[in-house]
């Protein structure tokens, strides 16, 4: 891929995405909108993964954002956009406070703690009836932009662009080197003077911020939040599978994975009403075993190999 194409391609993809609602019917638009929600989550999950920390708690921060948006809309009459920003701030704040403690955990301990935290958030929301509406949840008086489907699509796209923008920014800055170093070997990263805790905190808060924003968007799209709907394990599971299939440690990977899996899942949902999620499980297993770099990772590797061959070297040196 030449430099010009590399510059041009993202712009072209964004342009197509922005123009999509103008040509699409209502059904594809609704499907695309739900894919966008998962896509933003997938990108945000991958951002944290680049530091070597695997989170199973996406649904937790998503749910906090969703409830923050719903509560600020209902109690202080925040406008939808403000409530979405507050949702992001709220998730980021919770992540910041928790980060002091849980970012000292590693590997499986971190993973399971995030899973447990998501469960704790759900139970708190479930039981804190006066504030969160308890198990019935909260219903907003109206949808954002009066429920205009094109505007709903664009606001979801806004969430994705925010996630991709932050992700690309992180990939181009010094952060990338710090996070890769932490992932590869923490001891050597520390001895080269990297403040591990600081970088983990930055990326943890940022990814939680995105998840909160997306949660806020989701609530404004559907006008409804209940413990079982916004803390649904699917919000952890689907983004994870999408990022893996597309290719982790990159921005285009999760985006590609979200499109492929989202469309496939929608098709399967029509064919098999129960248990179409089995495909997600099988894809996760197959990708880990056969294609650990994901589709985009595989593509990047083959490009690299071809370049090396052209220089007269051997593939997979």
């Amino acid at each position: 891929m030449t430099f010009a194409v590399r510059r041009f391609l993202p712009v072209a993809v964004i342009a197509v995405a922005v123009l999509f609602p103008l040509v699409s019917g209502p059904y594809p638009l609704a499907v695309a909108q739900s894919i966008l929600i998962y896509m933003a989550l997938a990108v945000s999950w991958d951002m944290l993964l680049r530091s070597g920390q695997i989170s199973f708690g996406i649904a937790g921060f998503f749910g906090i954002g969703a409830y923050a948006a719903a509560i600020t809309t209902l109690t202080v009459r925040a406008s939808p956009i403000i409530s979405i920003l507050l949702a992001g701030a709220c998730s980021a704040g919770v992540a910041f406070l928790l980060g002091f403690v849980i970012l000292r955990l590693r590997k499986v301990y971190f993973a399971i703690t995030t899973l447990a935290l998501a469960e704790i958030f759900r139970v708190i929301v479930h039981n804190w009836g006066d504030f969160t509406g308890g198990p019935e949840g909260l219903v907003l008086p109206s949808l954002i932009f009066k429920g205009d489907s094109r505007a709903l699509f664009w606001i979801s796209l806004g969430g994705v662009l925010l996630a991709c923008g932050l992700s690309a920014l992180f990939q181009r800055s010094r952060l990338r080197f710090a996070l890769t170093a932490i992932r590869n070997n923490e001891v050597s990263a520390r001895s080269s003077g990297i403040d591990i805790f600081k970088y983990l905190m930055i990326v943890f808060v940022t990814s939680s911020f995105i998840q909160g924003i997306v949660g806020g968007i989701q609530v404004q799209l559907y006008g409804y939040a209940s413990p079982d709907s916004v803390f649904d394990a699917n919000y952890t599971l689907l983004p994870l599978a999408m990022a893996l299939l597309g290719g982790i440690y990159s921005t285009p990977g999760p985006v590609l994975g979200a499109v492929l899996l989202g469309v496939a899942a929608e098709y399967l949902k029509l064919k098999i009403p129960y248990g179409h999620l089995v495909v997600y499980g099988i894809i996760i297993v197959l990708v880990i075993l056969l294609l650990p770099d994901g589709l985009y990772g595989q593509y990047r590797r083959s490009v690299r190999d071809r370049a090396r061959m052209a220089r007269g070297g051997t593939a997979h040196a």
Binding site: I54, V278, Y280, G281, I282, V285
Partner: protein, 318 residues
């Protein structure tokens, strides 16, 4: 990571700690006994179930060094097998547990050979995601085949109750506590007294060293994984005796099992009994306070998180 089967040596410095904790535990139990006797009974029963489910996971984690996030889902599959054994063949779950355990062991072996084996050398992240994916595949497969409807056997003996003084309570669930103790002691005997068990223990402590002295590490891993899945099959079968089953019934048990294993310290099988007792009791005490029953899960996870944190800080210092 290693399996601790022999009693950790208690030095004079740790002695007072042990005394203190034992005294605290005894005082706590006495207080609960006086205040809410049923909470104590149900706490012990709950603890038994948690421990019985968690022990096979500890075995896999301690020896194969894999966190099996499909653990609860395997139990769910076993429970479905036992359900069909009961419905089609008329087998009582306590009879069905033998064939179910065997079938599950074969399934475990197949899963190991086809998937787990290939990720042993991969980063821990891959293993976590792999078993996570296996769990989803299993639960959704069951969902696909049998829908999400919940099924239950209605057996007479599960509602057996006993009366002590003026309190009466269900006694069937003590079966889980019995199963947990049997599993813990049985595994301990197996790992310390038999040739195969000793080999497995050696592999768990140091795979390379075990290979040097002539133990087939790969085969040991396969055996231990199959054994653990077989044991979870037996647990799933008795789980069915009282509980309703549905495709997602296993998920929470994966999480709770892992939490217990992490709390007890990786590889410490007998420690799981104590930890699950502490958690089961605290859950059932919260449950018995009127109006706060919904919070018991928060207590569970809060205790777990605190324990994991304390443990990881202590390890870092060492």
């Amino acid at each position: 990571m290693r399996i601790v089967v022999t009693r950790p040596r208690v030095g004079p410095g740790r002695m007072w700690q042990v005394v203190l904790w034992t005294a605290l535990a005894a005082a706590g139990t006495a207080a609960v006994l006086l205040w809410k006797p049923t909470a104590l009974v149900y706490g012990v029963q709950r603890a038994g179930l948690y421990a019985a489910v968690a022990i096979p996971m500890a075995l896999v984690l301690g020896i194969v060094h894999i966190v099996n996030l499909a653990h609860g889902e395997l139990m769910m599959v076993a429970a479905y097998l036992a359900y069909f054994a009961a419905r089609l063949l008329g087998l009582d779950p306590f009879v069905a547990l033998v064939p179910v355990a065997l079938v599950m062991a074969v399934l475990g072996l197949a899963l190991y050979q086809v998937t787990i084996r290939h990720s042993l050398k991969a980063p821990e992240l891959n293993q976590l995601i792999l078993t996570f994916g296996l769990g989803i595949a299993l639960s959704q497969m069951v969902n696909l085949l049998f829908t999400s409807q919940s099924w239950k056997l209605s057996l007479d003996y599960v509602s057996a109750s006993a009366t002590v003084g003026n309190i009466s309570f269900g006694v069937f669930d003590f079966v889980y506590a019995g199963a947990a103790i049997a599993l813990a002691l049985g595994l301990r005997l197996f790992l310390t007294r038999t040739r195969l068990g000793k080999a497995a223990l050696a592999v768990g402590q140091n795979p390379r060293g075990a290979a040097i002295v002539g133990i087939d590490v790969g085969r040991t891993y396969a055996f231990v994984f199959a054994l653990a899945v077989g044991l979870i099959g037996a647990v799933g079968s008795i789980f069915l005796a009282k509980q309703a089953i549905f495709p997602l019934v296993g998920g929470p048990y994966t999480m709770k099992s892992f939490c217990l294993v992490a709390m007890a310290g990786v590889g410490n099988i007998v420690g799981i009994l104590y930890c699950s007792l502490a958690l089961g009791l605290s859950e059932s005490i919260i449950n018995s306070i009127r109006g706060y029953a919904g919070w018991s899960n928060v207590v569970f996870f809060a205790i777990i998180i605190v324990t994991i944190l304390v443990r990881s800080f202590r390890e870092r210092k060492a």
